[in-house]
């Protein structure tokens, strides 16, 4: 694990073309085994959504993390691929063409790539504000067109199809959710591997160079514009594949797949996971989908928490979750990780209680302000109480205050332990 980490972790260090197969085999095995562990339909649905988001986020990170281009309209490429796949699916159904379903995402990918070439031709001449603004403009344009051009986008109700009408693929008709799961998993492994390999090619390496210093890359004889264009094209291709899988999984595509909020969400997912590492978006997509599906069942305010988490990530951990994990690599390398366990327990448990306490207060305020008249009872953390009486407010406030006080007093110890764990051992060691 730490080997891959080393090669993906330092974008500055070129070379290192060697690949470690270990993590990939583990990932493939996990994908195979997961549906046997979580075998009810709803968890398979969640996993399908998760893997599609993973492909999309990885494709997005080809631009943001590896190419330094911030796109505000990336849902367009996924949506375009998805819409085309849906049309192909309906076409196959109407004319009975021998086209097995598993190759369908390829069409989405090619269409996404074609559209990305069209837009990339004008937008990739710069990376900064200009690129971001063109992506925003194109995103808004396409989203607005989806309501106007009914023939392709189906207007407000979108377009839908039926995945089971194509040719059976070795006897599989993709009627069951689990069959779709393995189809998505196959494409996930394939696209993730291809995207990883892309980041190892000279073009992928040059994308990093252009991100860090476009002028210097130009002096070395590379056109930064073409390098950006190739990244953009490749990203469009994988977005289109994600779109095709979306079409297969949900069998419906609407304007919602193209609009700015979808583009915003993928930015959030990618940044939350960490843009500096190849595996960052994977973590981000898994964490965000879980947050979205699990938290939205529990509370109406899940988007509020997601926004707060996102802002906290930008402010305190710009490396994202992946960055947070990779911070611990030196401690493990120095065999000092054990020193961190106790300080972590001492600080993080009260910290967690503080966060939960604040969340409880937020929920109580929300209930107090918005619950219908007479509905005074609310349930939070498996406790039911009257939100209009004083006692629960006092209890929650006191618990939160105490927990935050403990967090504050133990934080310096954690900092010290952190510094201690990251100092190389004096005798021997490979530092």
């Amino acid at each position: 694990m730490s080997d891959t980490a080393k090669t993906t972790a330092s974008p500055q260090r070129a070379g290192a073309m060697s690949l470690t197969l270990g993590p990939w085999i583990v990932a493939a095995l996990l994908l195979l085994v997961l549906p046997f562990i979580f075998d009810n339909n709803s968890s398979i649905t969640i996993m399908n959504q998760m893997w599609i988001t993973v492909i999309f986020a990885l494709a997005y990170n080809m631009l943001l993390g590896q190419g330094g281009m911030l796109s505000f309209g990336h849902a367009v490429y996924m949506g375009m691929g998805g819409f085309l796949c849906m049309h192909v699916m309906n076409y196959v159904e109407d004319f009975g063409i021998a086209l097995p379903l598993p190759v369908l995402p390829l069409f989405g990918g090619l269409f996404g790539m074609g559209f990305a070439m069209l837009i990339g031709a004008i937008s990739t001449s710069g990376a900064g504000t200009r690129f971001a603004m063109i992506s925003l403009g194109v995103g808004e344009l396409v989203a607005a067109c989806s309501v106007i051009i009914v023939a392709f986008f189906g207007g407000e109700e979108g377009i839908s199809g039926d995945r089971t009408y194509g040719l059976p693929f070795f006897g599989i008709e993709f009627l069951k959710q689990i069959e779709v799961y393995y189809l998505i998993s196959f494409w996930l492994m394939l696209s993730a591997a291809l995207m990883y390999l892309f980041s190892r090619t000279p073009v992928g390496r040059m994308a990093n160079a252009v991100r860090d210093n476009p002028e210097r890359a130009q002096f070395l004889g590379y056109s930064s514009r073409w390098v950006r264009f190739y990244s953009f094209m490749a990203s469009g291709f994988f977005c289109g594949i994600a779109g095709g899988l979306f079409a297969i999984n949900y069998e419906i595509l609407t304007e919602e797949n193209l609009n700015t909020s979808s583009s915003g969400i993928i930015l959030l997912v990618t940044f939350l996971g960490g843009v500096g590492f190849f595996f960052g978006p994977i973590i981000g997509a898994i964490a965000f989908t879980l947050l979205q599906t699990v938290l939205s069942l529990k509370t109406e305010l899940w988007a509020f928490y997601a926004g707060a988490l996102f802002l906290a990530t930008v402010m305190y951990f710009p490396g994202g979750l992946a960055g947070l994990i990779m911070m611990h690599v030196p401690a493990f390398k120095f065999r000092n990780a054990g020193k961190l366990v106790m300080p972590y327990v001492k600080t993080l448990i009260p910290g967690l209680i503080t966060v939960l306490g604040i969340a409880a207060l937020v929920e109580m305020i929300f209930h107090y302000r918005h619950a219908s008249v007479g509905d005074d009872e609310m349930t939070i953390f498996w406790t039911t109480f009257d939100s209009h009486s004083v006692v629960p407010w006092v209890i929650v406030t006191v618990i939160t205050a105490i927990a935050s006080y403990i967090t504050k007093t133990t934080a310096p110890d954690l900092k010290e332990a952190w510094g201690d764990a990251n100092t190389p051992p004096t005798t021997g060691g490979d530092a």
Binding site: M133, G264, G307
Partner: protein, 318 residues
């Protein structure tokens, strides 16, 4: 002909409203080099605060107090948020403001709910100022025009004629030199951010009663404001004014004159195909100008970015 005059006034109101937002945004851009995605969110906060204050103290106190609160909040965001993120580079800054916009929208929904607030035009201004050929012009629109023009003149005066304005302009271009001359540049930046967001707050206060005070109001106007300053030229105050008026008039005229695409194409000599219902481009043929009025600014922006990347009045090297 009378309709043209009415549309000119309507477009002027929209344009000046856009200008109040884009003026602050373009100042903030020339200062930090980063677009503030949350700018329209401060506009929304202005409307909500003014609504809350107007319940207790009336519209005029809202107009006075709400922008100040918004400005203080904005300055706080710069001091405790952006300044911290600044060390990580431009992209995290942009992402920070993007996240802030999301959070403010959620916060507003959390505090005030999802419904539109009953924030109305004050009774003093709720009458018809004059009528042009049967089309009545409400006094509130005239009031909006006056407020925005007054703010523009005030801003221009402060920036170009006063000592404070001179220091601000210098600090925008040469922060290091200004700092070496003994001025507190971080404080200036915080002040500019605060004033810029307060301007957005004013826009929110006066637009709230007309355009509606609801959680989506920032989203509706948000991206149009970026489009405005990109078209005008990033960092250019005059450019922001020109672009705001241009967008205001284009969208207003496109909405009130029902121009069909088939008429335009016929006029330039392309005949309508025989059986339109089977044609691949049938949707293109039936497009009308009110349908595309809201996306015209985006088309304009993409065209500007292709042919004149630095905007109408922007600096080539900006």
């Amino acid at each position: 002909m009378e309709l043209v005059l009415v549309n000119l006034i309507d477009g002027l109101v929209t344009g000046l409203l856009l200008f109040m937002l884009s003026a602050g945004l373009t100042l903030i851009f020339s200062m930090m080099g980063v677009l503030n995605f949350a700018h329209a969110s401060f506009y929304m906060l202005g409307a909500y605060f003014a609504f809350q204050i107007s319940l207790a103290l009336g519209f005029w106190m809202g107009l006075l107090i709400a922008p100040i609160i918004v400005g203080v909040l904005g300055a706080g965001v710069e001091r405790y948020g952006l300044r911290r993120v600044h060390q990580y580079g431009h992209v995290p800054e942009l992402i920070f403001t993007f996240g802030l916009a999301l959070l403010i929208e959620e916060l507003v929904q959390f505090l005030w709910g999802k419904n539109q607030m009953a924030y109305n035009i004050p009774d003093v201004l709720n009458f018809t100022a004059f009528a042009i050929a049967g089309n009545s012009i409400p006094a509130y629109k005239i009031f909006m025009i006056f407020i925005s023009v007054a703010i523009f003149i005030g801003l221009l005066y402060v920036l170009t004629r006063t000592r404070v304005g001179m220091i601000i302009q210098a600090a925008l271009n040469y922060p290091k030199t200004v700092e070496a001359l003994g001025h507190n540049v971080p404080l200036i930046f915080m002040g500019v951010f605060g004033v810029g967001t307060a301007l957005a707050g004013v826009a929110g206060v006066i637009a709230g009663p007309v355009l509606g005070t609801f959680p989506g109001m920032a989203f509706v106007l948000g991206s149009i404001v970026f489009v405005t300053i990109v078209i005008g030229g990033l960092g250019s105050l005059w450019g922001a004014l020109v672009a705001s008026l241009l967008i205001g008039w284009i969208t207003t005229f496109a909405k009130s004159y029902n121009l069909a695409m088939s008429d335009v194409l016929n006029a330039i000599g392309i005949a309508t195909p025989e059986n339109l219902a089977d044609n691949v481009f049938r949707d293109l043929w039936t497009v009308t100008s009110p349908q595309i009025a809201d996306i015209l600014p985006y088309i304009l922006m993409v065209l500007i970015l292709i042919f004149r990347p630095y905007g109408l009045l922007g600096n080539r090297d900006a």
